[in-house]
Symmetry: C2
Subunit: 207 residues, 2 copies
């Protein structure tokens, strides 16, 4: 069985901010072959160094809303006045070609993806090792504004309360171990029976 | 989360003979911490070097049949006139203590275990890379008796026809890659939400 006869998996990773998700995703993309991010659609302004179709597909509000109506997204959200969305066609094309797709998204986006492609999604939730550690990390990010810090803590707690909607839980005590756990989950899912597209033909030849 | 707050998994590995299952199981037991075989019960005669309670629990036919009646096994079978069985209590004690249990068994035993502990079983099927390779390996084992070879091929085909009852399929083209795939599946299952026994308390402390 060659890699190209496997169906890819959509690996969704969620966590409260401060749990190390961004670092984990970066390392997975660097260290694992055959997985990449999907190119999102956004209505926010293109920055100088960004390339259309590589960093994002850039659309205006009208175009984006039409795409929502046409059911072109497996998830979309409005963040600070700008729309962001993940294209269904983009993701399906990749997994059909045996490429895994990494999606770094919150619980609301995860729910939307779950509705669209329940058979292809594998959901991982990253937790911080303790409340003390989470507070420490968020305090560092919030500079010296107590109100900002409290807002971040509230957001984090809200995100954590949805851990039960995920398949796998990784407690990030050590970044290398956490990355290694994500890799195991991905490598394991690649062996799942439903991913082996040609398996029935293969077995028929055997028996 | 310490290892002892995880619930163990019962990792069942099946395959036709000649697909490399025995070698794979041996390597898993040697190379992975926290997994071992369950001690089976048998009615066959104790060999000189075998230790009661370590290699097997030795019983007579009457005792064994009573144990079947008392529903003490998660699987049992009669092979060449002797009974063999896996103790439910033995397996449940291990997984409650966070120890994984490796079970090397055919599709019939797998079905029995599936019935008894559906929440704790993870099922892997190992396939040979090709019919040619399978024939070659079985011909080597069958010495020069054509009838014996044909019987083994028939048995192998029968076993393979049940591949669809398993969660994961590994095509054993390379023994090290196959072992590595089994390890990934095990490490992945250890992160599954349902294995984290203390997760609700842990999350409640976080939020």
């Amino acid at each position: 069985m060659k890699k190209n006869s496997l169906r890819g998996v959509v690996l969704v990773i969620s966590s409260p901010s401060g749990a190390g998700k961004t670092t984990i995703c970066k390392k997975i993309l660097e260290e694992v072959n055959g997985i990449n991010l999907s190119v999102s659609v956004t209505t926010r302004k293109k920055r100088k160094d960004e390339v259309e179709g590589v960093d994002y597909f850039f659309k205006n509000d009208e175009e984006f809303i039409l795409m929502i109506k046409n059911d072109e997204f497996i998830e979309n959200a409005k963040v600070f006045g700008n729309y962001y969305g993940t294209l269904k066609e983009e993701v399906l094309k990749k997994i059909k070609n045996g490429v895994d797709v990494l999606v770094d998204i919150d619980w609301q986006g995860t729910r939307q993806i779950q509705k669209h492609i329940p058979e292809d999604i594998v959901k991982i939730f990253i937790l911080p090792p303790s409340i003390k550690e989470l507070e420490c990390r968020l305090r560092n990010r919030a500079s010296e504004n107590e109100e900002d810090f409290l807002k971040r803590m509230l957001e984090a707690r809200k995100e954590i309360s949805h851990f039960d909607e995920y398949d796998f839980i990784i407690i990030n005590e050590n970044i290398n171990e956490a990355v290694s756990s994500v890799k195991s989950i991905l490598y394991s899912e690649r062996q799942r029976k439903s991913r082996h597209l040609g398996i029935i033909d293969f077995v028929n030849k055997l028996i």
